[in-house]
Symmetry: C2
Subunit: 112 residues, 2 copies
């Protein structure tokens, strides 16, 4: 079981900003996940991997793929109080789900 | 309402590693939070701030303070598969709770 969180490298987010966006995405997708899957994931150590992409377009493609595969996912837009323009899409969380299922969506991406 | 996540600067974690630890901490403290407070926090945009400290000792001091104030919190230890020694304490999440309450614990810290 794992959850993949994909963040945009092209925005040049600071470390703390990136971490907050990843946490938003992680929690949001988790909340859309069924009780049993959540329990399994937590029981196995709530594994998370943080991956990177270089465009908004790519994030939406991955979200579509997660949707097609029936995996819970969440897209995060920044409120824009600080570094970014309001509404900027920053991150996508995919899962928790089985490793295989998550890899069907994010298996080609590199670590952030 | 907000949640503060405090991470150790002295470990030299990579960006993705840091983000994953912050997300762990955020989710863990959230799960220890009462239903009503969770709902309020989410309804107000689930504000998160990521702060930094320079030692494990300081993280534990802050956790004690959160405990005394009766705020939900979670300390994260890394499983140590990659960058860090197994069991290394990496992050602490405080809240969600009211801004005032969280500031009593983390008000003196700077952004990560």
């Amino acid at each position: 079981m794992k959850q993949a969180i994909v963040a945009r490298r092209d925005l040049g987010m600071g470390e703390g900003k990136l971490a907050a966006q990843v946490a938003h995405a992680s929690l949001s997708a988790y909340e859309d996940t069924g009780r049993r899957t959540r329990k399994e994931w937590k029981g196995s150590g709530q594994k998370k991997v943080v991956l990177g992409v270089d465009s908004e377009h790519r994030l939406f493609e991955l979200a579509d793929k997660a949707d097609t595969e029936g995996i819970p996912y969440a897209i995060i837009r920044d409120a824009g109080h600080t570094e970014l323009e309001p509404g900027t899409v920053t991150a996508l969380a995919v899962g928790p789900a089985s490793d295989d299922l998550v890899d069907r969506v994010t298996g080609d991406l590199s670590l952030y």
